[in-house]
């Protein structure tokens, strides 16, 4: 699924108030040099930090690998102007909240980054009720 489909999905979900935390586009830079669009990774854990800042916000969460090792994942989100327009605030994702995320993994060896991610509760249900101003006219 492409980023744009994610966005359109987010917009549609926002219109009916059942938004899973789907990430606005990385308009500040290309995702291609940083993230592998040919792969999808999924991880589950609890939020350790939500960096609600521009140019892009970041969500950190701690997950346990199959070998029992704990790792901290870092999800790159959109800019806060875009997030705010979709109803996000600095308090949207609180410390300790359990989440499940799937997205493109970072390319640099030994890193645990993710972009273009879909973020839900561990059971797949939405964790953010969104609203937006971007649901009035589709892009041409």
């Amino acid at each position: 699924m492409t980023v744009r489909r994610w966005i359109l999905g987010a917009v549609a979900a926002a219109a009916v108030g059942v938004l899973a935390a789907t990430v606005p586009a990385l308009a500040h830079h290309s995702s291609a040099p940083f993230y592998d669009s040919s792969r999808t990774v999924e991880a589950q854990g609890t939020i350790t930090k939500f960096l609600y800042r521009n140019p892009h916000a970041f969500l950190f969460f701690e997950a346990t690998e199959p070998n029992g090792q704990k790792v901290e994942w870092q999800i790159e989100l959109g800019g806060i102007a875009a997030l705010a327009r979709n109803g996000w605030t600095p308090d949207t994702l609180k410390f300790g909240t359990p989440i499940k995320a799937s997205g493109r993994p970072s390319k640099a060896e030994g890193t645990h980054g993710m972009c273009c991610a879909k973020i839900t509760k561990p059971d797949g249900s939405p964790i953010v009720a969104g609203k937006g101003v971007q649901d009035e006219e589709p892009p041409k």
Binding site: R4, I7, A27, H29, S30, F34, P55, Q74, A81, G113
Partner: protein, 250 residues
């Protein structure tokens, strides 16, 4: 003597206040009409405009510079593009976007028309550009990241010419590793089509581009009551993703 000066000052100040109060509505009318010196017709471009993905596709490696309009680079341009290292792009240290990329960033902007200038305020990077309509010219110390802009109304459009840019390693766009030089010149033509604001942006830079290159795009009216959101770029967040980039150079 000092009493006389004080009285004269007080009288002058009172007169100034009366004149200012009387001129207030007139000034507002003039601003609403946007009457520049010796201009006949001024299009109403003012307002807050939506440049998000509601109005147009989000920028990327192929937007707004795609197959149809991607510029032909000079030998120097190709060489710079080849050695370009994403990790040193100054945006990762909060350096703002510049024309011709700034206009296409998927955020809101505001246009304010005054008789002697047009002000463009961008949500992206908290940038503000002033377009002078009073025939002033830049001096040799007016080089800057956003350059020096002059403009004129032509028919139903505003034409803006910006030069005096400083060298910018990503001054052409955010995605293709093409720099811009102090010879960069950006010509923008803004006009209204119904409720939309449209622009054609043309960039010349003989150091890096063989020929001028152009794109046309649009903004939609912002939702009623929308105010630009503070950007306030954070250096930590700005460089936080660079560790995910496999290094090009050690």
């Amino acid at each position: 003597m000092s009493t006389t000066i004080s009285r004269r000052f007080a009288v002058a100040a009172a007169c100034a206040l009366v004149v200012a109060a009387a001129a207030g509505p007139m000034r507002d009318v003039a601003q609403a009409q946007g009457t520049p010196p010796a201009a006949a017709k001024v299009p109403d471009l003012s307002g807050v405009w939506d440049g998000t993905n509601r109005a147009r596709p989000v920028n990327s490696e192929t937007v707004p510079w795609g197959k149809a309009n991607f510029p032909e680079l000079t030998e120097r341009g190709l060489a710079y593009q080849k050695i370009f290292d994403e990790a040193l792009a100054p945006k990762y240290d909060c350096q703002p976007s510049t024309p011709p990329a700034l206009e296409y960033d998927p955020y809101f902007m505001e246009v304010v028309q005054w008789p002697d200038r047009v002000i463009f305020r961008y949500e992206k990077d908290d940038q503000m550009r002033t377009v002078w309509l009073d025939n002033r010219r830049p001096t040799s110390v007016d080089y800057s990241l956003q350059g020096f802009s002059v403009g004129r109304y032509e028919g139903d459009a505003l034409t803006v010419v910006t030069d005096h840019f400083v060298f910018d390693i990503t001054g052409f766009d955010d995605y293709n590793g093409i720099p811009s030089s102090s010879q960069k010149k950006v010509i923008e033509r803004y006009w209204r089509e119904g409720t939309e604001l449209k622009v054609t942006v043309t960039v010349e830079d003989p150091m890096f581009l063989k020929k001028p290159a152009s794109y046309t795009t649009r903004w939609l009216p912002a939702p009623k009551g929308y105010h630009l959101i503070l950007w306030d770029c954070d250096p930590e967040a700005s460089r936080a993703m660079v560790k995910f980039l496999p290094p090009k150079y050690k």
